[in-house]
């Protein structure tokens, strides 16, 4: 869906559901996932329907993912960090995660 204009900038590795992806410093988690070609970042808590980021500016809440064990983070507002563990959020969030 998206590709990078160029390859400059520091790269780093995150995992998404255990699979490593390459990201660049300055990426947000949502954008890193889009650039890595990941189709959807969550399924909805109401009907378990797949969703992906829609607005990339923090208002749609469709980019919710679990980051380093904490659920319902807006991926478009979180800058990537080396070694970050991202998980797609399936359905309702689990209390305690």
């Amino acid at each position: 869906m998206f590709k990078r204009l160029d390859d400059a900038g520091t790269t780093m590795t995150l995992t998404v559901d255990g699979t490593p992806i390459r990201a660049r410093s300055g990426d947000t988690v949502a954008v890193a996932m889009l650039a890595a070609g990941i189709d959807h970042c969550r399924t909805t808590p109401v009907n378990d329907v797949p969703r992906a980021p829609y607005c990339l500016m923090g208002v749609c809440f469709d980019c919710l993912v679990t980051i380093d064990g904490v659920g319902s983070r807006q991926g478009c507002l979180v800058p990537v960090r080396e070694g970050m563990k991202v998980e797609t959020q399936l359905g309702k969030r689990e209390a305690g995660r």
Binding site: P45, V46, G71, S72, G91, K92, R93, A95, G96
Partner: protein, 374 residues
Amino acid sequence: MVAEAYDVAVVGGGLVGVATAWGLAREGCRVAVLDEGDRAVRASRGNFALVWVQSKGLGLAAYAGWTIRSSNAWAGFSDLLKQETGLDVSFQRPGGFHLCLSEKELEARANTLKRLHNQPGIVEYKTEILDHSQVAKMLPDIGPEVVGASYCPLDGHVNSLRLLRTLHTAINARGVKYLPSHRVDAITREGGEFRLVTSQGEVRAGKVALAAGNANMKLAPMVGLEAPMKPERGQIVVTERLRPFLPYPVVTLRQTDEGTVMMGDSKEESVDSRGLTLGVSATEAERAVRQFPLLANVNVVRTWSAIRVMTKDGFPIYDESETHPGAFVLCCHSGVTLCANHALTVAPMIARGALDKSLVAPFSARRFHVQEAG
């Protein structure tokens, strides 16, 4: 062209009003429900959705019996609604808890229950005081600060917003005329019928049932009745949807059938429903996290406040007018718990034209004068 008079005009489109209207329609009455507009202060949109029995009736023993009657009728009531509308209001009665976060709280709770169950004429039902480990057997996620709780197997909860919608759907299907933005400004009785002057014209009916919550205080005298109310504000904190973890309602914390967790409860004298006191929400959040530590990182997506419909002594008022025969008033705080009674017991009384004193005499507003004289 002058419209025909209705058999009953119900004033108020909240849970008390629409449950009564539904019950009246089932009895064959032609009913109109007069309601305010979208921004009205509506307790039916701001309640905790409990169908609650424990600790009700301290000060008026009959209230406990009245409550249990409704609680026992609730499952059948919800089935009837489901048959008619296809909508499931998710009524559940697994029993409920009142959690205590200190020995002092637990002692106070035990005392309240003791006093309640010692009242003459009180109906007998079980409420136990449990210690931490007993509570933990049923609520494994409670935090270490939970000292104990009172538990009553008759407590339950429902999806109260869906209940409101379901009742509106049901009355619509039964031909009840719903008139929003028809605030009632005056009621008179002429030529054997009632004339209600509303913000959008006059409505005529053979009988009137006032179910307008706190506004009953202003409306009741128009038909020779009284409804002394003492509204107060409560605030609620609501979380995002979560996977089910809490099968029992707690009196100040419950997980809805949609997965969200609601937390309360507070009491402030303000009656500004648009206002919110942050420190109150913070206290509710703090107690919730102490009761269920796994909720600490869960997101709060909403807080709101609502004005409780509260009579002067907290107990319901059901009355029929002597000076204006055919006028009835219904006031209560527990519009959710008592919904089954209003639909299945009180509505038929109104349809027949008289309240059944054997059931509701203790709830007449005359009790306020007796108390004052005594």
